[in-house]
Subunit: 485 residues, 2 copies
């Protein structure tokens, strides 16, 4: 799947010159080549995505060192795979044979938290939760909260434009990016964006790098806007006879103008898997559970959740419960966050990541039921119902060839269903090397050629994470795009 591979090093192979240069620039302790050691950096959490063997894993400690790595790589034509903690779910961080894997986890400083400007300046290796904790002491809040928030890094969040449970009210990573420092393919250091709330100087390059999965540059610093700490939430839980009813509730939320700070769904498969894992005393007989919160504060939050409770009853909820008990709310959120790990205990999982317009959620959930029935496999449905970003997750036994075939078919059928409803093949996980074909299908040939033109402008040698997101341009692509150039 990768378009470019460099020479693979093996214990017997001669050491390439660029490896000496890396050691010279960063020190031997920052350049790992022992295959037993580098294997730990070979892949992310997309267990079924392709992965190669890195020639070297480098762990820079500064922007200057990242710059040195990219200067050396570009001089020698060696591909580079940037990565953080490796919590990704699409193989974007997966190693490429013979390439350098550039690990940013040692650059983990929170450089500044400004209450007066309500922003933070961080290095890419800062763990999401570490940033959240660092700003919370000043009464501030960094909203984007992917499920892996306690170990994923901000650099990976930026590269994937990560979402999370907060998106329904607070948006995604890109909505918090003010400025970036990026090392370009040739090692030059770009500073783009700003420290101000507003600013339109030049192109919005910062948001071009956000979500580009390491294919355009390596983010070495980010200036992120923060919000005031949210108020203690009021939590609602409601159970339903069908998952599709939860879609109806979301539509009603949108048309009624409610803005909950969280609105999540789990189906019975997930409920039971989580309950088995956490012994959380969940309602194991429910077919679907909706968990919502309002952080509007005090009486406003209670009113918002009471209004939602009525929408749930109108949609035929079996049970609706509203609580301002923070501990109970936390428990429900933990249960929701544990849905994917709990499903993974049932078998190998293929996690889909489709976002559909909110008016089509019920249709999408019905469609997922039909796909599960057709393929004869369990599909656990969990997702960010409030923003239409659902994660139907196929559970199967990978040692059973027939199940494996049906699982991949079901995975594709879910993507197909999402596109047919006006949705997207990825709401927050990205393409990595898992959905490159699907991306081309979603965006079409004109957009693909624009992607390739932008990529070629910023990474003319095609060395940055090649083969991720979309195919590199081939000779015939370039001929086809001749009219663009």
């Amino acid at each position: 799947m990768t378009a470019i591979t460099a020479t693979t090093t093996s214990p017997s192979a001669p050491v390439p010159a660029w490896l000496d240069e890396l050691v010279e620039a960063l020190g031997a302790g920052s350049v790992l080549t022992d295959p037993d050691v580098t294997a730990a950096y070979a892949r992310d959490q997309a267990m079924l995505a392709e992965s190669g063997t890195p020639a070297a894993v480098v762990l820079p400690r500064s922007t200057d060192e990242v710059s040195a790595v990219l200067r050396i790589a570009s001089a020698h034509g060696v591909p580079v795979v940037p990565r953080g903690a490796g919590s990704g779910l699409a193989g974007a961080a997966n190693a490429i044979d013979g390439a350098i894997t550039l690990v940013l986890t040692r650059m983990d400083a929170v450089l500044e938290v400004s209450t007066a400007d309500r922003l933070a300046v961080v290095q890419p290796g800062v763990v999401n939760k570490a940033l959240r904790d660092a700003v919370a002491t000043d009464g501030l809040f960094y909203p984007p909260d992917p499920s892996s928030y306690d170990w994923c890094t901000i650099g990976g969040n930026l590269a994937n434009n990560s979402g999370g449970l907060c998106c329904v009210k607070y948006g995604v990573t890109t909505d918090y990016v003010l400025g970036l420092e990026v090392v370009l393919a040739d090692g030059r250091v770009l500073r783009t964006g700003r420290r101000t709330v507003k600013g339109v100087a030049g192109y919005d390059l910062a948001r071009l790098f956000v979500g580009s999965e390491g294919t355009l540059g390596v983010i070495t610093e980010a200036t992120l806007s923060l919000r005031p700490a949210p108020k203690t939430p009021v939590t609602l839980v409601a159970s339903f006879t069908t998952t599709a009813q939860t879609g109806q509730v979301v539509e009603a939320v949108v048309t009624s103008g409610l803005v909950p700070s969280l609105l999540e769904v789990m189906d019975r498969t997930c409920i039971r898997a989580v309950d088995d894992m956490l012994k959380a005393d969940l309602d194991r007989d429910a077919h679907a559970l909706l968990v919502a919160q309002s952080d509007a504060g005090g009486q406003a939050a209670v009113e918002e959740m009471e209004a939602l409770a009525q929408l749930c009853r109108d949609a035929g909820a079996d049970l609706v419960h509203v609580t301002d008990d923070a501990a109970e709310g936390d428990l429900l959120l933990t249960a929701r966050r544990m849905a994917l790990p709990a499903l993974e205990r049932l078998g190998t999982t293929l996690i889909d990541d489709v976002a559909v317009p909110r008016s089509r959620i019920a249709a999408f959930l019905d469609g997922c039921d039909a796909i599960a029935e057709r393929c004869g496999l369990v599909i656990g449905v969990v997702g960010h119902a409030g923003d239409g970003n659902m994660h139907p997750t196929v559970v199967f036994d990978p040692t059973d060839d027939d199940q494996r075939t049906r699982a991949f078919q079901a995975f594709d059928d879910v993507l197909e269903l999402g596109l047919s409803l006006g949705g997207t093949i990825t709401g927050e996980h990205g393409e990595g090397n898992l959905k490159t074909d699907w991306l081309e299908r979603e965006i079409g040939p004109v957009s693909l050629s624009v992607h390739q033109a932008v990529k070629a402008a910023l990474d003319p040698q095609g060395l940055l994470n090649p083969g991720k997101m979309f195919r590199s341009a081939t000779v015939s692509d370039l001929a086809g795009a001749a009219s663009l150039r």
Copy 2:
């Protein structure tokens, strides 16, 4: 200032072949060449920015017609200046000698308003206010509200990433862009983005086009997210002995975690100019006026404004008044919106557009006072205090050469001051052809070369609004950027 000019047509000159092709494609009624008629489309509201004479003004009615215009223009190497109503304040829409001015005002349909998905699909010629009115009937809200909202078009708002009075709580235009249809330089039609709330498929090309001032493509359709209609606001007005005190209040708002829906400032020059124009019974003796609103609803809004009132008193306000009277609030807002038109009655104006970090607003306002004193001219200060985006406006007599020189010096001094405080040379007006040199100064050589590389990737002939935002790459630039390519 423009890098490319095509053959200028004059009544006696032979009609260029491309003009025949335009008439063939769009019909004679959509292709204007009479200089007396085309002059009306020659410039925007930046009265002192350079402007040329268009060879033709074309007014397409559809994406297909825009595509035809760009195919013809690229085939013949004719530059194209896209524009909407011409409310811009930096000359981005100003005509280029011999170029085609492409006016999008006839494409003025609101194609869809979806309450279920809380979005609207619009053509670029829709007037901002027309969109606001169209969605208000469904209880929805399109926040970005530049001061010219009753005549500026959404296409221009997108091209400039316009802000307005709402930004302090609701952000700017780009925060509401889900998807775009863009005609590329060669006439191909790109659809990018989505209808879903979330989505990370491919690069964020939509936000690359937003704010690119027509230099990368022509936006022909936009899918915009909407919000629930805000609640009736509670309004606060406070008067101060110095403008800088208002900056202190803003800092206190940020650190205290208040999120007003509006927080605007006017100095005495503006107060008196507006009062002269509107007879609005403003406090003519105040040195600075802060106008704020909360749309948090009911008691929450009252509490938010009472908290702000206390911050104003703490900063030494002479007078603080909170009202839930909607008419009184509207009057104060109208007064604020009329500040620039009112200043224009005093003389020719040079409107600056600096955004500074909110912690530096007081220092910025003090600095503006010093500049006014140094240059011996009136500088009326008006601005979006809450987000640090200020519009110090130099008033002068353009027939007085000395005043003119001092006015331009003051304009530059304000930009210099903004940069020295960590700010940006443009918070919302853009560069147009007025601030190309300043943009280069702000972003630096590495970012400039990335801008030029992106521009070259999307517009290899350099025909789209050449010379706007930044200099096109020259041969020596390209040699200097050889390492990037």
